[in-house]
C-alpha cells in the first residue's frame, strides 16, 4: 500500500517537473511544404544539377524575405529519369508528405505523368524545365517557368529567312522534343518565304554525327538547323561540324540554345564561333539582374561553375513560389495558388522580364538571338537581337478544342 502511494507521488512530481521544464507554447508557425521532383540520376543528371543549384541559390538568398512566422520545408525526390517513378513520387509527396506545392521536373514524360495527379489533388505544380508544349493543358494546376521549344525555334526560323537565306536543311533528334523544334523552325522559316531542302532525324543514342552532317554538306543549303538535346550530344555534334569543315563550306548553322549550352562552350574549342542560336538565357546577358545572379552563383558554387538556362528555370520557379507565399502568408488552397500564379510576373529575372500567360499558364518571355563571340578571351553566347515577350506559338496555332 505504501509502495503504490509512493509510486503515485513520484509520478505526480515527475509530471509537474516536466510541465515546468517544457518550453512555453510558441506562436503558431506556418510551414509551407514544397516537393521538388528532379532527375538526380539518369542521363539528364547534369541538367538536373544545374536546375537544383538555381533553386537552392534562390532559397538561400531569399529565405529571409519570407513573412514572419512562415517557413518552408523542401522535400527532394529523384525520379531517376523515369516517368512511372516520378508519378509514384508525386503521389507520395501529395498523400504522405502533404506538400502544398510541387515543382521541378526536367523531363517532359515525367511532367506529363505527374500533371493529371495535380488535377485530382488540386495541388499547384510549378514546372521549372520540362518543355513539352501541351503539358499545361493536362491539368489546370500546372504553371511553367522555363520555356517551350516552339518559343525558341519558330523565331530562329523566321530570323534565318530574314537574313536572306533561301534554303534550309533540318536535322533533329528523333523524339518529341526534336520533332517540336523541327516543326517550329520549319514553320518560322517557310512562313517567311524560305524553302526546306530536306529534314532528317537521327536516332536518340546516336554515337556519331558525321554521316548526318555529311548529308548536309553534300546538299549545300544556305543554312542548316541542327538540334540535339542539351549537353549530352552537343559536343559530339560540334565535333562532326568541325571534322567536316561545314562552316568553311559556307553553310550557316542555327539552332536553339540546346546546341551551345553555356557550360559546354569552354569545351568546344573554337568551332562554335559565329554560330547563331535562339534561347531565353545566356550568361553573357547584359542586365543588372543577371550580373547580380552571376555574382551570387560564383560566390556560392565557385569561379569555375557556370549556370545555364536550366538554372534560371529553377531560380524563377522558386521566385514564383516565394512570391505566392509572401502574398498569401503561407496559407493557400490550390485554387487560390493558381489564381495568383497565373498572373505572376517577374520583371527582374536574370533573363529579363518574364510573366505567365493567364490563358495558357505557360511562360511568356524575351527570346534572344545570340551569336557566339569571344568575350574576355572566352567564348560566350552574346545576345544580338531581342524578340520581346514571346508567347508559346504552338498554343496560339493550336487552340484547345
Amino acid at each position: 500500500m505504501q509502495g503504490s502511494i509512493h509510486r503515485v507521488l513520484v509520478g505526480i512530481i515527475a509530471a509537474g517537473i516536466a510541465a515546468l521544464l517544457s518550453p512555453a507554447p510558441v506562436a503558431a508557425q506556418t510551414t509551407v511544404k514544397i516537393g521538388i521532383i528532379n532527375s538526380y540520376s539518369g542521363f539528364v543528371a547534369q541538367a538536373a544539377d544545374e536546375m537544383q543549384r538555381g533553386m537552392d541559390l534562390y532559397v538561400k538568398l531569399h529565405e529571409k524575405d519570407l513573412p514572419a512566422g512562415v517557413k518552408i520545408e523542401i522535400i527532394k525526390r529523384d525520379d531517376t529519369s523515369n516517368p512511372e517513378v516520378g508519378k509514384r513520387l508525386a503521389q507520395e509527396l501529395i498523400t504522405q508528405d502533404q506538400v502544398q506545392v510541387l515543382t521541378g521536373v526536367i523531363l517532359s514524360p515525367v511532367a506529363a505523368a505527374v500533371a493529371p495527379l495535380t488535377a485530382e489533388a488540386k495541388v499547384p505544380f510549378v514546372i521549372t524545365n520540362a518543355a513539352g508544349v501541351s503539358i499545361p493543358r493536362l491539368s489546370p494546376y500546372v504553371v511553367r517557368t522555363s520555356f517551350t521549344l516552339w518559343q525558341e525555334c519558330l523565331p530562329i526560323g523566321k530570323w534565318a529567312a530574314e537574313q536572306g537565306w533561301k534554303t534550309a536543311y533540318t536535322e533533329v533528334t528523333d523524339f518529341i522534343a526534336g520533332h517540336d523544334s523541327e516543326a517550329a523552325f520549319i514553320k518560322g522559316f517557310t512562313d517567311s518565304g524560305g524553302k526546306i531542302l530536306d529534314s532528317v532525324r537521327y536516332p536518340m543514342q546516336n554515337p556519331d554525327f558525321v554521316p548526318f552532317v555529311q548529308r548536309v554538306k553534300d546538299a549545300h543549303p544556305d543554312v542548316a538547323f541542327l538540334w540535339v538535346p542539351a549537353q549530352t550530344q552537343a559536343t559530339a555534334m560540334m565535333n562532326a561540324v568541325r571534322d567536316l569543315g561545314l562552316r568553311d563550306a559556307g553553310i550557316h548553322i542555327v539552332s536553339a540554345q540546346d546546341l551551345l549550352p553555356d557550360e559546354e562552350l569552354p569545351r568546344m574549342g573554337d568551332t562554335p564561333l559565329g554560330l547563331i542560336t535562339a534561347g531565353n538565357y545566356s550568361t553573357a546577358g547584359d542586365r543588372p539582374a543577371n550580373k547580380a545572379f552571376l555574382a551570387a552563383w560564383k560566390a556560392e558554387y565557385g569561379e569555375q561553375s557556370i549556370p545555364d538556362f536550366f538554372s534560371v528555370g529553377g531560380w524563377d520557379g522558386m521566385a514564383a513560389i516565394f512570391d505566392l507565399i509572401k502574398a498569401t502568408n503561407g496559407k493557400f488552397t490550390g485554387d487560390e495558388a493558381m489564381a495568383f500564379l497565373s498572373h505572376w510576373k517577374n520583371p527582374d529575372s536574370p533573363r529579363g522580364p518574364i510573366e505567365i500567360d493567364p490563358n495558357t499558364r505557360d511562360i511568356v518571355q524575351n527570346i534572344y538571338i545570340r551569336e557566339v563571340k569571344r568575350v574576355d578571351g572566352k567564348l560566350a553566347n552574346v545576345e544580338i537581337a531581342t524578340i520581346p515577350l514571346v508567347k508559346d506559338p504552338w498554343k496560339e496555332l493550336n487552340p484547345p478544342k
Binding site: 529523384d78 516517368p83 512511372e84 507520395e92 493536362l138 522534343a177
Partner: protein, 328 residues
Amino acid sequence: MAADDARAATVDAFARRHRFRALEAVPWLLALAGYVLFPGYLPLGAQILATILFVLSADLVLGYAGIVTLGHAAFFGTGAYTAGLLAANGWGEPLSGLVAAALIAALVGFLSGLIILRTTGLALLMQTLVVAATLYEAANKAGRWTGGDDGLSGVVMWPIFGVFRFDMFGRTAYTYCLAVLFLGWLLARQIVHSPFGRSLTGARENTARMHAIGAPVAKRRLIIYTISAALAGVSGALIAQTTSFVGLTSLSLERSGNALIMLIIGGVGRLYGAFIGVPLFMIAQDRFSKADPVYWYFWLGLLMVAVVVFARGGVLGIFERLWKWPAK
C-alpha cells in the same frame, strides 16, 4: 523392411511435393500486413507486386528452362503497351486489358521463341537482346501511337467490376496487383511441380539425355517461353494500368537487366527468388538511389559481383545452406 520403409517415405515425399506447405503462406500474409501497416506506400507496394510477377516469369525461363535472356522486357513492354493503348483509346476495362496483354505478349513470345530458341549460348543471348531492341525501336518509331519518348499518356482506367475505382492512394491498385500476382504464382507453381516442369529441369541439366529418352525438348522450351511471355505481359499491363502510363523504359535493356539482378539476389530457380529479390532491390533503390546515384550503382555492382562469387544461390540459397547446416 526398414529400407522399404525409407524408400516408400522418399517416394511419398516426392509425390507430395506439390502440396501446399505452411511456409508458403508467409509472403501473402506479409503482403496483407503491408496493406495495413504502410497505407502511405501502397503505390510503391503495387509496383513491387507487379514486378514480382515479372521476375517470377523470368525465373520460369531462366531458372527452370535455363534460357539466359537479356530481353525479357520485350514481353513486359508488349503487355504494357497493349493494355495502355486499349485504355488510351477508349476501352478502359482493366481485366479484359490484362487478358489482351497476356494474349498479345504470348503471341510475341511464341513467334520470337519459334525463331530464336533453336540457338543456344551466346547466339541465343544475342537474339534475345536483338528482339527486345527491335521492339524498342519500333515503339519509338511509332511515336504517333505510342507517344514515343514522351510515353503514352491519357490512359484512363475504368473501375474494376464497375465498383473499385483506381484511387490516388493506391488502395485499389495494391489489392488488384496482389490478386493477379497470386493467380500468376499459382500457375507458376503448378507448372513447376508438374511433370512438364520437371522435364524442363531435366532439359536444362542434361539436354542430350532428355533427347535420348524421347522428351520433346524444343517444344517444351517454346511452351514455357510462351507462358512466361504471357505472365510478363500481364505484369507490364498491371504497371500500365496502375500508373496510367507506359514509357519506352518498359522495353529497355535496363528493365531486362534489373529483372535478372533481382532474381539472382533472391535466388534463381527456386520459385520464391522473385518474392525476396524484388522487394529488397526496389526498396533499397527507393531509399539509396535518392541519396547518391553514384554510390547506388557502385554498391549494386559490388553486390552483384559478391553474389556471383560467394552466394550463387542468392538469399534463398543462403537459407538453404543454413537449413541443411544442422543436419551436417
